[in-house]
Amino acid sequence: MREETDLSVLVKNSGEWLRGTGPESDIVISSRIRLARNLAGFPFIRKCSPEDREKIERQVRTRLENLPDWDEIPYVDIATLSEVDRQFLVERQLISREIADSEGSRAVAIDPSEQYSVMINEEDHLRIQVMHSGLDLVSAWEQIDRIDDAIEGEVLYAFHNKFGYLTACPTNVGTGLRVSVMLHLPGLVITQQIEKVFRSMQRINVTVRGLYGEGSQYTGDFYQVSNQVTLGHTEKELLEMVGQEVVPRIIDYERKAREFLIDKGQQDLHDDVSRALGILSTARKISSEETMHYLSKVRMGVNLGLIDDVQLATINKLFIHTQPAHLQKLHGRVLTTSDRNVERASYLQRHLCGPSGRADELN
């Protein structure tokens, strides 16, 4: 594996999962699957000495290097990263906030296309994550299953005949599997149906988190649906529950809400999304919350055909690239909140206006 502490290569690109394609990508941003695994013969992280953590990190790293095709996988030592770099990886969804903020030896191996990453010494010794664009759980599962098998060929996992894969927190034991689908649901938010829809979902073992829920002045209208249980069901059953039972129903509700909004008053809706694009394209300073709020409207406008000269992939990328650490990495230095607001506005203008038109892809 390659030692990679300079993250500038990642800054310039965007992960595959943001390309705005894949099934149902007008509503489903991404499909993420993660597996929690621990090595046999070591305490869980909470009871690990600093030496244990180092040994686990070294051992996993050496074993990952044995895997075919892993020579070119960048390996990032999180402990040596600056605060901005750690925040950058969190914004990019390549590492968790927990591993960014923890202490001691910890690392992440990142696939260059950013489809998968393997965190070492998070809450569990290993957290393997695969992320695909759109609703694509089956191929995401096939990929993570292969990675898990390959790693398992190299290390001995802590496994219990009855309880399955053993994890630090009993909420993850069994399969260690968390399936999370990120949905963009502005139609259900505007029509005030969102709470009703999710209340009905709670009875079927899924967790829904509003990332920027209704009632907020600035909302990105993003919601994450995940399986709640990890023990007692096969991986396939958990995937089906989220990917075939729950998410398609929510997608259907969102489509109906959007149709209703168009029928009710296309002029108003068109005006609303156009104004949002106008503010994003012309503002001289803008906060990240306000950016999320207006990007969300523009995204819906693009999906409904009300805005036709902005690409979905561009909007998806702007959600990530206008986050604080991304702006600072792109700018090449630490920026104050006020400077970031100016830089964010300028960045949005560059990508939403300009002589080459709005359809420009981000570099």
Partner: protein, 172 residues
């Protein structure tokens, strides 16, 4: 309106839809909202604590709970009290050592006690040998600290013998 956790103005109003008693509204400043939102998943501590609270209210007296809290894993040294407070266990052996105490909790969270999913293809080490590994590692560290390198090397051989060599696949 002020943030629930500090004196800054609350600019984020987040509705958590995961609470069993209905939506919970949080009013937070940007920094605290970021902390809450970037966790990405419901905090295991709160879900474990919630399930434990329900479980412990049912059938246990204060005296029984006090005794249970003092119960300590002989391998990693975690007490049930520490687990209750952190939501995290200390080592794989805890699932055996606290099995009777964890079962109601697992039923509460998962409505099941039996893994039916994927299994590793390599035979997992027995619980005893895994406990031995953790103990031997501790002893080896202590031997190195005391500069007893011969002893440390013997212990390393024993560790390697229990771990076995990893299986090779493909062209790895």
């Amino acid at each position: 309106m002020k943030c629930q956790y500090c004196d800054k103005p609350a600019t984020f109003h987040i509705t958590e839809l995961t609470e069993p008693d209905g939506p919970q509204v949080l009013h937070l400043c940007e920094q605290h909202a970021r902390n809450v939102l970037q966790k990405g998943e419901p905090t295991p501590v709160s879900s474990v604590a919630g399930a434990l609270a329900k479980q412990l209210q049912l059938g246990q007296t204060k005296e029984e709970l006090r005794k249970l809290d003092q119960k300590e894993c002989p391998v990693c040294g975690i007490t049930f009290f520490e687990f209750r407070n952190s939501g995290r266990l200390g080592c794989p052996l805890d699932y055996d050592f606290f099995e009777a105490d964890l079962k109601p909790l697992l039923l509460n969270i998962h409505d099941s006690l039996e893994h039916t999913g994927k299994r590793p293809t390599r035979a997992a080490a027995t619980a005893d040998s895994q406990a031995d590994l953790i103990r031997l590692r501790k002893e080896m560290e202590a031997a190195v600290d005391r500069e007893e390198y011969e002893k440390a090397s013997e212990l390393r051989d024993q560790i390697n013998a229990i771990q076995g060599e990893p299986k090779r696949r493909g062209n790895a």
